[in-house]
Structure formats: C-alpha cells, structure tokens
C-alpha cells in the first residue's frame, strides 16, 4: 500500500503537521519504507484472533463521584502561551 504525495499531504493535514513542499518527497519515501516494514504483517494469518488492546486484559475501576479539585487556574495558566481574562486565546474560531 504505497503512499503517494497526496496521501502524505492528507495525513499531514489530519495530524495538523505543517509540511513544506520540499519535505514532501523525502517524507513520502521514508513513510513508504516504514510501511514496507509494517506491511510484512499482512502475511500473518490472524483469522479468528481477538485483537488485544491492553496486555493485562483487566477491567476498568470506577471512581466515586466526589469533587476534590480546587481552582488552580492561575498556576496552570502561567505556562500558557496566550491568556486573557482567564481564557486561553486562539486565532478566531469561525463557526
């Protein structure tokens, strides 16, 4: 399943990774190399094998519905790139 440049552009967009025009060719080649390695697994017969998402196959614990967090806004926002009136600022969100 070799990737074309347009596939790579699409993937980069989905992942919101800026990719310069001159990086595209090299990136496409490298990704195809990696996919070549990965594609080897297509030869494995996995009929009827249940996928394994978590190694231990444990089950989810539930937390009691109790509020223990307190307002730490000032501390948490000291590392934010742009803040005003307690809000994180981003370029205009168009609805």
């Amino acid at each position: 399943m070799a990737l074309e440049r347009t596939d790579v552009e699409k993937i980069a967009h989905l992942a919101r990774l800026g990719l310069a025009e001159d990086e595209l060719t090299a990136t496409t080649a490298t990704l195809n190399n990696i996919l070549g390695l990965i594609d080897a697994m297509q030869a494995v017969d996995t009929t009827g094998i249940e996928p394994l998402a978590h190694p231990l196959e444990a089950t989810q614990r539930l937390r009691a519905d109790v509020v223990t967090e307190t307002n730490q806004r000032d501390a948490y926002q000291t590392i934010a790139p742009a803040v005003e009136q307690g809000l994180f600022l981003v370029p205009k969100v168009i609805e």
């Binding site: 937390r63 809000l87 168009i94």
Partner: protein, 481 residues
Amino acid sequence: MQWETVIGLEIHAQLATESKIFSASATTFGAEPNTQASLIDLGMPGTLPVLNAAAVEMAVKFGLAIDAELGRTNIFARKNYFYPDLPKGYQTSQMDDPIVGKGHLDITLEDGSVKRIGITRAHLEEDAGKSLHEDFHGMSGIDLNRAGTPLLEIVSEPDIRSAKEAVAYVKSIHALVRYLGICDGNMAEGSLRCDCNVSVRPKGQEAFGTRAEIKNVNSFRFIEKAINHEIQRQIELIEDGGKVVQETRLYDPNKDETRSMRGKEEANDYRYFPCPDLLPVVMEDSFIEGLRSQLPELPVQKCERFQSQYGLSTYDASVLSASREMADYYEAVVNVCDDAKLAANWVMVELGSLLNKEDLEIDQSPVSAEQLGGMIVRIKDNTISGKIAKMVFEAMAAGEGNADQIIEAKGLKQVTDSGAIEAMLDEVLAANAAQVEQYRASDEAKRGKMFGFFVGQAMKASKGKANPQQVNELLKKKLEG
C-alpha cells in the same frame, strides 16, 4: 407530490454528576472561566482519566428505563480531531461497544395515540469546552470548565415522521432523564441538546432520502421550527429539480432558517480506536439489578397508574405525568382535596393557562399544591362556587394568601341561607316587575330562555355569592308562584 418526512434524533444529555466523567473537577454551570478545569481537563501531558462511577450508573438507569440491551462489556474509544475546545485533541467517547444498546420509548401524541420510537443506542462521552467569540483583538477565548462533563448521547432510530413527533419524543426523553434524576434538563444552559437528522421521501417509497443534520438545537420550540423549515427547504429543493446534500446545518432562530456549515467543516476522519488509558467497563448482573431496584416510577408507569387509580383519561394522565414535577404537584393537590378529577381540571386548565401566560415551570408556580388543594376543598364543601373559585385562584396567584384567607378577606363565602336568598330574590323580582309579567305570560319554550335572565340578575345582586343551585330552585318557585 406527497412527501413523507423521516427524522432521527441525537440527544446529548449532560449527566447530573457532581464531578466530571474522568476527573474530580466540579461540573457546576456558570463558574468563572477555567476555574473548574483540572490538569486532566486541560489535557496536561502525563495526566490520565479515571471513570466516574455515577456516570456509569446514570447511563445504566437510562438503559433500564428504555428497556434496552446493556453492554456488559463496554469500551471507551478516542475520537480524534483538532479543535481548541477539545484539549486532548480527541474526545473520549464510545464507538463499537456502547453502554446502552437497542431500546425504545413510547411517546403520546397530541391526539392521545401512543407511538413507539426505537432507540438505537446511548453512549457515554465527555463534553467539550466552549469557545467565546467576544473580540479579544481578533482572537477567540477558550473556557474549559465544561470540558469533561459527562454526556449521554441518545441516538434514536429514524422512526419519527414529523416535527411535532420529534418534539414529543424530545419532551419524553427530557421527562425521562429528569424522572431518573440523571440530567437537570436545563436546555437554556445546554444540559440537553439535540441534533436532528432530517430527510424527505415520496410517500410510499421505502428507501430513505438524503439527510441533513441540524446541529445543536436547544429548545423544544426551535426543534419544531428548525425541522419544519428544513423539511420545507428539502421539498422545495427537490421539486425544483435539485438534490439534498448530506451535510451539517445550523439553525438560526433569529432568521428562522437553517444554513449549511459546509466549507467550514472539513471532511473528517475521526480515527476512532479503543482508548488505551481506559480499560473495558464490565458490568455484573448484581450491579445492574442493584440499579434497577433504585429506579423511580417512570412516566409510562405513572401515566397508567393515574388512569387506573384516579380514573383519568389517557390524555389527562399523560399530560399530568409528563414531568416528575407536574406529577408530584398533581398528586399533592389530590392528597389535600381528595378529588382526582377536580384536581386534574384545575391543574390542567386554570393552573396550566396561568403558567403558560407567565411562562413559568410547574415548580415555579405561584400557587402551591397545598393552596390549590385547599381551594378545591372549599368548592367541594360549598363554601364557594366554581365561579368564585376562579376569583380566589387569581387572588392566590397574586400572592394574597390561601383560599380561606381570601374568602374571608373578600367576603366571598357562598350564601346558602334560603331566607336571605329569598329576600334577595324578592328584591330582584320587584325591580324587574315588567319582565316577571312577561315571563308569566309566555309559553314553556320562551320561559326557558327568560329564566336565565333572572338567574343572572340574582347572581349579580348577590355578587356571585348566592348558591347557584338554591337560586335556581327558589327562583323557579317564585316565578311559577
């Protein structure tokens, strides 16, 4: 051509938990921006989710209430997309194995008939934050207080055939989640939001038409208007030779129209996969049965009981059981006055129109159930007539006290002393001697019509306080006399 509408709804109900679905932050509405956003809610590197037991319990209660299959092993998945109100770059939701599977809900339509609406599934997920568009030098502000609030997304089958049915369905879901105590139902605050999938097809055709999805409609009235508008738009489009495109649309209540969000929303590929930070939620029978035993009486059961216990019609019973608050109010009135039918009439007619006029919910009623019940007692024991009762009711609504206080203060007590009534009637007849002559000279048919005139005069003279039955009897005797 005759068109048929096909509607399916996705309702997002915010669950009424104290803390968020994956963090211990408060879910209180209206707090200062980002003061209820913990490390987890902010998507800080290294933070991890732990599932709130109450959210699971509430979802199960909903599933039990709609007689649904419950996912004994349900899985959380990540829905990946970038948006500033989505701090982790993915929404933790459920895809393949939702907590609530196929179920159904019976809704009562305006004509009193009952329709069963299929519910495809309901799954747990986290809410996003909010983008605020006040101008911060051309920037938007992001508030993540709402991020991580638990949502139950309830997906219906495309069983709904009109905007009115859609509203009835949403009202039933609204009532149900409030009965269950799992959602406050406050649509203005966004606690219950609705996405409407609407399509039309020529009547008789089996295949569905192409649907458009109207996002985030947040009131019963807007649901009806938005759907009706969309139906009209689609029919006109098709009849003009156009084609409906599958797309997301936004309802603008100010212009009463839906408009396309196309172009602003990209073709998304959400790349769902099981969330590796959360494990499968496994529910044992004992867990589910424990929750079943906690279920309150549900709207359908209450409606049936109102019919059998109080002898109400299906329609009356369905109106009075439509919300938990309404049903509780009604039963409190019955408890005081011990007259289920009078209570039903007063709650539905007089109280109903008062609330409607004042735009109030039943739990904001200016007349308490005790007051209304007390007034009905006074109707029943002949202290006041039904007509006077309306005056008393208005006075109660104006905050002038309970029925007995108002009757006393305004001297509205019904006159039942036949001597006093006779004396009053004598005066009335004397003052209308000519009419009396005329009456006596008339035949039976004409007399019947004229009798009403004398009753009216008599009631007017008594300021409405004379017992109408006694007035009738005594007046007849005197005129015939």
